[in-house]
């Protein structure tokens, strides 16, 4: 597999950057991630919008313009000849001379095989709640320190992932947005203090559902009919358990299934 570093195509196992990079020194960088389906990037304009927004927000000088970046992405897809994949574009803080100041960013584009597994839907996912508010939540930074730190905690609690909350307010999972379906078939996802996912955005555009962005409190979980999480790799995945509480009847709900089928079609996953 090949990757592109600052415009140059190199083999994955030779793809290195200097250790003075601010990502290594200070965890400083942004990224975005999208799928390709049959060699075509999916929702790529949305992901590039967000990537340029993340870079600007974090004061990273992305000198490559959008057309140039798209050209690199297409070049990598052609080079690797991999039809169904995940593509990650990363922009780091660059080679800092003092280990603290932002420098000329390094732009990394990597591609990995990705085949969507439809079996995951019926298995669903179990979440464990944890009090944490991500820093700079609306920017897609490379910071997953808390989430990776919590992996043993997640396993100990017989869960598959963690659901963050700040005081009573639920925000998101580390790599997914969280939705609930209320007793009245209202669909709610957190309105603030989250990273606004592209799959979340696409689902909010489904006009046949009653979806709103609002505040979800921990106590809402006591009465939810369904819950699901969304992301580029998961599409929509039913949440079947949160802590010790079974959600609904412990099987994917009707509304979650409808949303899932619609987002599969929109994301070229059928």
């Amino acid at each position: 597999m090949h990757v592109i570093i600052n415009g140059e195509t190199v083999l994955e196992n030779e793809a290195r950057i200097l250790i003075s990079d601010l990502a290594i020194q200070r965890g400083y960088g942004v990224f975005d991630f999208f799928r390709t389906a049959n060699y075509q990037p999916v929702f790529v304009e949305d992901h590039l919008d967000r990537f340029y927004h993340s870079a600007a927000k974090m004061h990273l000088d992305l000198t490559v313009n959008r057309e140039q970046l798209k050209e690199m992405i297409l070049r990598l897809i052609e080079k690797n000849n991999l039809p169904d994949s995940g593509i990650r574009i990363t922009l780091t803080g660059g080679y800092s001379t003092d280990g603290y100041s932002i420098a000329k960013p390094n732009l990394l584009i990597t591609q990995t095989p990705f085949i969507f597994n439809k079996d995951n839907f019926n298995r669903g996912i179990r979440l464990v709640t944890y009090p944490h508010q991500r820093q700079l939540p609306e920017v897609k930074t490379i910071d997953y320190l808390q989430a990776i730190y919590l992996q043993p905690f997640i396993k100990e609690n017989n869960a598959d992932d963690v659901l963050y909350h700040n005081q009573a307010e639920i925000s998101e999972c580390p790599r997914s947005n969280f939705f609930i379906v209320t007793e009245n078939d209202e669909i709610i996802t957190a309105s603030q203090h989250i990273l606004k996912g592209i799959t979340r955005k696409k689902i909010l555009e489904f006009s046949e559902f009653n979806i709103k962005e609002s505040v979800i409190n921990l106590k809402h979980l006591e009465k939810v009919k369904e819950a699901f999480i969304t992301s580029t790799t998961k599409a929509a995945l039913p949440v079947l358990k949160i802590n010790d509480r079974t959600i609904g009847n412990g099987k994917p709900g009707a509304i979650t299934t409808e949303i899932y089928n619609k987002i599969l079609a929109a994301g070229k996953l059928l």
Copy 2:
């Protein structure tokens, strides 16, 4: 200048790691930083205690034992032939196959020239407060995302660094601990939600002062006689202004000066 990567000595401008490292992918890693004075590492046992603690806390498998690590540090000092320096040891999340799971960590040891500048003391430092609580504050991780993001904010506010607080409770600066001197000549530093600095630890051991670890509230700032910050590179630096408030008479205070002289001596900076 040379650096050591996983035990191997390489030139600084050839010191690279693969971009699959979890530091680059997910901002995941820990480090520590100490000075050398006349080729001798200063407070090295304290720094190594903390480094091993950080690695264990973050589930990073540091297979190099303490004697081996010290041997590498001394080898690097000899190789670079640099008497007065800063040495940074970094342990990253390693080359992750899935971009999320911790792998075999990469151990990086770097050395940079460092000459302590005594002129900084009289210039002091100006701080601007900002509401933020660092994640996993008691572990020395590589996460400085918020601090680097805030650099333009700091400049706009005519300050030199930021002082974090959570609600009313003051914690620390991104790379320094914070102390106040009250009207009664009591010295207070935050007791919790902070990284416990080695310089802070040494100062707490000065038995001739009345120092306590406690909660410092924003409203305490209205009445402080003196304030100072401490770190390996700063020793103790007077805080002369916080937001629009001048601290004391705007010059280094008597107690700060005493503490400074004592920590200079302890840290072989005289």
